[in-house]
Symmetry: C2
Subunit: 118 residues, 2 copies
DNA sequence: ATTAAAACTTGCAAAAAGCAAGTGAAAACA
DNA sequence: TGTTTTCACTTGCTTTTTGCAAGTTTTAAT
């Protein structure tokens, strides 16, 4: 007898906002996306960001992002075994969300500033 | 001797995206904002949304949103003691974020649909 | 061949989420 | 006016997730 674990995460509702949050509604996921949009591709690069994501969380988030097809895992260089992560079209499409979040932060949260290249 | 609890939540970094996520980077907060943008103002209204936020979570989120000045708590009707919540200018300014999230969900997550008025 | 770095995994403690039930004040109703 | 119902929470408890440190294994560099 086998314990069934669902292949896809259940949605809380059909609302596109709720559904989006089911995928990336947490403290860390969109920061990984931010780094990817800035051109970072490696596990160590994400770890190097100033927010300090823990390794187990990063690992879990990358798996989850790949499962939702926002990123793909591929060899870092040709024939290499080391992992690199890249945004898919679906993942790239998050750019407007990140931009509006950045703009909101800059406008309404004093002391915020864009440090990272992009 | 008094235990010191910080008046403001510590920021993980000065990045405006990270700072934004420190405020509303979770599964529930932006759904409350969504409801507020749709004109809902009462505790029971937020509870009635299809995602089913638990009462203790809603309570904590409303407190937190007020602390960050995204909403204000005011009497529901003049001289009433019952609470109503309304977006401040800072909270209203989240509209573009919610719009882009909605658009992304509709474009990339099959089966999502806008049910709620707005 | 040795060493070092990269990309994880594991174990455990702490924090947060989720659930059901309870409470007290306020409004509605008889 | 007294009773009932609704509202806006709070509390207690269990489960899940997070955070941290340490360990492991594969890959690359020297």
């Amino acid at each position: 007898m086998e314990t069934d674990s669902p292949l896809v995460d259940p949605r809380r509702s059909p609302c596109p906002v709720a559904c989006s949050l089911d995928i990336f509604g947490d403290k860390w996921t969109l920061l990984v996306i931010r780094d990817l949009l800035l051109g970072r591709t490696r596990f160590k690069d994400f770890l190097a960001s100033p927010e300090g994501i823990p390794t187990n969380i990063l690992s879990e988030r990358l798996t989850r992002l790949a499962r939702h097809q926002l990123i793909v895992r591929a060899p870092a260089v040709r024939d290499s075994k080391r992992a690199a992560y890249r945004l898919t079209e679906k993942g790239l499409a998050l750019l407007p969300i990140l931009q509006t979040m950045r703009d909101w932060g800059l406008r309404w949260e004093p002391g915020t500033e864009v440090r990272l290249q992009g």
